[in-house]
């Protein structure tokens, strides 16, 4: 029996217009590709909110897409596992999804939350609010409640046995629905409340039972058959709580064929894959949150490609180890987070001076100092751009979304090998530890690899000037051009020199090779212009309107905000920088040219990108910045609000 849904209200994104409709059957919900779907939501009022745990209305099915749901609990009670299964289920239902998580400082027993947004189109960001919240318990809920914004249109499910409702929930005005999870878990299965929750949440979110079961089977397979069997029973039980026993069997057949070309991948995994694609075969690193997953993904896979990973004694060792490997001709990467990047500053300088290609992944977390290890922030841009002593030009890149981690790390590896210069790649916790159902990432543009020395007439001059500033590099083992790589200033042959002429020549060379390279169109993702290629931009495509500039993981929220603004009639272009240094000044100026208003958007305290763009003289004086520190992510709605607050922002 399909339970009736009471008093559904369609509301638009901003929650202004609303209109009553009748009932929607559970089976109609999954319509991949049919977007935008009107968003039904339970009518709420403070009266209802004042009666938590007492309502007995049937559970309404949430058909709006994208839909954002959260399963929360204490560490160890399985909220994150539930999230993983729901993500897999979303994939099996033919949808795209984005799964983020929140954890506290405790190693075990602390708060944890899984947040999943899914829909028929790829998800750019986690959106503005949670539409559907299921709490396994309320312990510690306050610690992450600010990461789970609820609206009056939201629906909250909670087991009355899970403890007192936090006031913040009632205050949100969200609809509440009691749900006897523990009881169901006890009755139907071996007590895995979180698995029952998967069934309940999946059903309320309009996912087919077959997709949920397949998701569970895939996610839990490594834990053995018994666990899968138990989970299956629990999920069925949860599903039945919503749809009633009778529907369960029928629903099982309804799973659409999975869109097999898609991937289920985390940002850290994608980063590791990109590095492998780019040719990295040696990794040395010291564990640090949130970069460890990236390393742990690589560790067993490198040997399969003839490579290896060394756990170093510290970050100073790690970066020098990768320099050693690269000097030996084996492309190398290290990964760390803020504190580790600080420790690598001296090593980065050596890589610059000795012209040794290396990739340094910085999966950013909250700073400064030890900061907030488990949460995201984009506050290491300054350090990445400027944090070397002396004039030390190098590459800085940032992936723009989870799948793009693969592209950007791949590209960074190719660039570092081509240009013989270190590349810092700024991912962050929000990308690295999130998972997406996404289209497979494209390969990075092909690039000539490391230029190798060829036996010549005279002696080998490792650091000889050349037209593009790149000098052929010999690799130990090759006869005929032995040399000593040098961190002191040196002449073309690598002999230490303190003469002004040698210093100038080498500084010029190291600068020139970076700026002379043609990076092609992938220096940024530009949307809203006719063509993201600089040439097209130079001809003045898309004049006027609003220009939003961002970088790294903040792109998703900006893109979504831009889409909504366009729907409201704004002319908006978005420039998301993937290559931060060397900044493509001319192309960027061209991309900005003609904009009526410029807003830079980023997740840090004082606008590091904004200041950098001013330093590089690419911003008009009227440009403004929307910057706030982590750990809360940027949300489309706050970007829209900031845009609306821009005084001179033209509306097309």
């Amino acid at each position: 029996m399909v339970p009736p849904v009471v008093a559904l209200v369609f509301s638009d994104v901003a929650g202004i217009a609303s209109t009553s409709v009748g009932r929607t059957g559970a089976r109609d919900g999954i319509r991949p590709g049919a977007s935008p779907i009107p968003r039904p939501s339970v009518q709420t009022n403070s009266e209802l909110a004042d009666r938590p745990h007492t309502r007995r209305d049937p559970l309404p099915i949430r058909h709006e897409r994208p839909l954002a749901l959260a399963v929360t609990g204490s560490g160890g009670n399985g909220a994150l596992t539930a999230g993983m299964i729901l993500l897999a289920a979303v994939a099996r239902a033919g949808l795209y999804g984005l799964l983020t998580r929140s954890a506290g400082p405790q190693i075990r027993g602390g708060e944890s939350a899984a947040m999943l947004r899914f829909g028929p189109e790829p998800l750019a960001c986690i959106g503005d609010r949670i539409d559907l919240l299921l709490a396994l318990d309320w312990a510690n809920h306050l610690r992450f409640s600010e990461e789970l914004p609820l609206a009056r249109t939201s629906l909250v499910l909670a087991d009355p046995a899970a403890g007192t409702l936090p006031p913040v929930i009632a205050a949100s005005g969200a609809a509440l629905h009691p749900i006897a999870l523990r009881a169901a878990a006890r009755r139907y299965c071996d007590g895995r409340t979180n698995m029952v929750a998967v069934g309940v949440v999946g059903a309320v979110a309009g996912l087919p039972l077959a997709a949920l079961l397949q998701g569970a089977a895939e996610s839990l397979a490594p834990k053995g058959e018994a666990i899968v069997t138990a989970a299956t029973a629990c999920i069925r039980a949860g599903f039945a709580v919503v749809h009633g026993e009778a529907t369960v069997t029928a629903a099982e057949a309804s799973c659409p064929p999975a869109a097999l070309a898609r991937w289920n991948i985390s940002g850290n995994e994608a980063a590791g894959l990109g590095a492998l694609r780019g040719g990295v075969r040696f990794v040395a690193a010291y564990p640090i949150t949130p970069a460890s997953d990236l390393l742990e993904w690589l560790a067993p896979r490198l040997p399969r490609l003839g490579g290896l990973l060394i756990q170093a004694e510290d970050e100073l060792a790690a970066i020098n180890m990768v320099i050693g490997s690269s000097f030996g001709g084996v492309p190398a990467l290290t990964a760390t987070s803020g504190p580790g990047l600080s420790l690598m500053s001296e090593g980065l300088g050596l890589a610059v001076a000795s012209e040794t290609p290396i990739v340094v992944a910085n999966v950013m977390r909250g700073g400064p100092s030890t900061g907030i290890p488990t949460k995201s922030e984009q506050a290491d841009l300054d350090l990445a751009l400027y944090g070397l002593h002396g004039d030390a030009p190098h590459l800085v890149l940032a992936p723009l979304d989870i799948a793009d981690c693969a592209f950007t790390f791949d590209w960074a590896t190719r660039l570092t090998e081509r240009l013989q210069v270190p590349a810092i790649v700024l991912s962050d916790q929000a990308l690295g530890q999130a998972r997406a159902i996404c289209d497979p990432p494209p390969a990075a543009p092909a690039l000539a690899g490391r230029e190798r020395a060829v036996p010549g007439a005279g002696g080998y001059a490792r650091y000889a000037a050349s037209i593009d500033g790149v000098s052929p590099m010999a690799v130990p083992g090759e006869p005929g051009h032995m040399y000593t790589a040098e961190g002191l200033e040196h002449n073309a042959r690598g002999t230490p020199s303190s003469m002004a002429a040698d210093h100038c020549r080498q500084l010029d060379k190291r600068w020139h090779k970076l700026v002379a390279h043609n990076y092609g169109p992938t220096w940024a993702d530009i949307d809203g212009c006719l063509d993201s290629h600089p040439a097209a931009l130079l001809t003045g495509a898309a004049p006027g309107g609003l220009c939003l500039i961002t970088w790294g993981s903040s792109r998703g929220a900006v893109v979504e905000a831009a889409e909504r603004l366009r729907r409201d009639g704004w002319l908006v272009r978005v420039i998301a920088l993937r290559l931060l240094a060397p900044l493509q000044q001319a192309a960027l100026r061209a991309a900005i040219a003609g904009a009526g208003a410029v807003l830079v958007v980023e997740l840090n305290h004082r606008g590091q990108l904004f200041r950098y763009l001013h330093a590089q003289e690419v911003l008009p004086t009227t440009a403004r910045v929307l910057a706030h520190p982590g750990p809360l992510p940027l949300r489309p709605a706050e970007i829209i609000a900031a845009v609306q607050a821009l005084e001179d922002a033209p509306v097309a």
């Binding site: 898609r262 399969r304 490609l305 060394i310 004694e313 030996g328 006869p479 000593t484």
Partner: protein, 278 residues
């Protein structure tokens, strides 16, 4: 291999044409010569050798050789060499440096390189002073040496005992040579390079400029008593009680060399990417 049939080379062939920046009479000259003689003796192809160093007078050595070299960062020669050797096990990798470089700023890498037991040779030219920065106390300096302007009352710190530390950290080959005994040193270096693991050679190498009194080391060195210890306990007894002037191979034991992971090769990226496909 392209290079097995190399013509036999003399010690001089391993020298580059750069003139060392060292002061006349510096002990490091003798270490350089002993090393080139050893390389010639072992008939190692020049292009298959890489000599890695940090920063200091002693660390200038690689550029004076005609083989591959890396003059890296102060204190970080060992990790750089570790990365190189791990990635390129086919090369002969030698690390050179000073007592400041290796035992002060580089102390942590020394400990962990001993533990890791990669097939490296680590030569520390110990002059009990920071030569390059003009005469400060190093970890091996006596606590009451008052000639450093930075520690005019002496460091007040016990001397660092390189051999004892290497032993405690797990090194399998520990030797002590003297710049004033180039033949003995050459012999030790040859054994060290041939040792299949981490081989540590402390070389007493006087600094003429800032420790002129170390000229009298030649009267104080003496061969170490008996054959090298083979068990750590005996070796420790020796190293913790000796005067730091006993020359020779102090300890030698065969240990399993480092191999972090079996390298499987042959697999391809497509197989790895398949993990992500739905």
């Amino acid at each position: 291999m392209d290079s097995t049939a190399i013509p036999s080379l003399g010690a001089r062939d391993y020298k580059s044409d750069l003139k060392p920046v060292w002061c006349p009479g510096c002990g490091h000259f003798a270490v350089l010569s002993a090393l080139t003689r050893t390389l010639a003796f072992l008939a190692l192809p020049k292009h298959r050798i890489a000599v890695i160093s940090g920063i200091g007078c002693s660390s200038r050595l690689p550029a004076y050789l005609d083989c591959y070299g890396f003059h890296g960062l102060h204190g970080r020669a060992l990790p750089l060499a570790t990365g190189l050797k791990a990635a390129r096990p086919d090369l002969t990798v030698i690390v050179t440096g000073g007592d400041g470089d290796g035992f002060s700023i580089g102390g942590n890498h020394f400990l962990h390189a001993c533990r890791r037991n990669l097939d490296l040779t680590y030569i520390v030219m110990d002059n009990q002073v920071y030569g390059m920065t003009k005469g400060q106390a190093s970890p091996t300096t006596r606590p009451d040496w008052r000639r450093s302007r930075l520690t005019p009352e002496g460091t007040g710190m016990q001397r660092f005992k390189p051999a004892a530390i290497a032993l405690a950290a797990g090194a399998g080959f520990i030797a002590r040579g003297f710049a004033g005994d180039p033949n003995g040193l050459s012999h030790l270096l040859a054994q060290a390079i041939e040792y299949p693991g981490f081989a540590f050679v402390q070389v007493l190498s006087p600094c003429q400029t800032f420790r002129p009194e170390s000229r009298e080391w030649k009267t104080r060195v003496h061969p170490c008593a008996g054959a090298p210890a083979r068990d750590p306990a005996t070796a420790a007894q020796l190293m913790l009680t000796d005067d730091g002037m006993a020359l020779g191979l102090l300890y030698a034991q065969v240990l399993p060399p480092f191999e972090s992971q079996p390298r499987l090769e042959g697999d391809d990226l497509a197989a790895i990417e398949a993990e992500f496909a739905l």
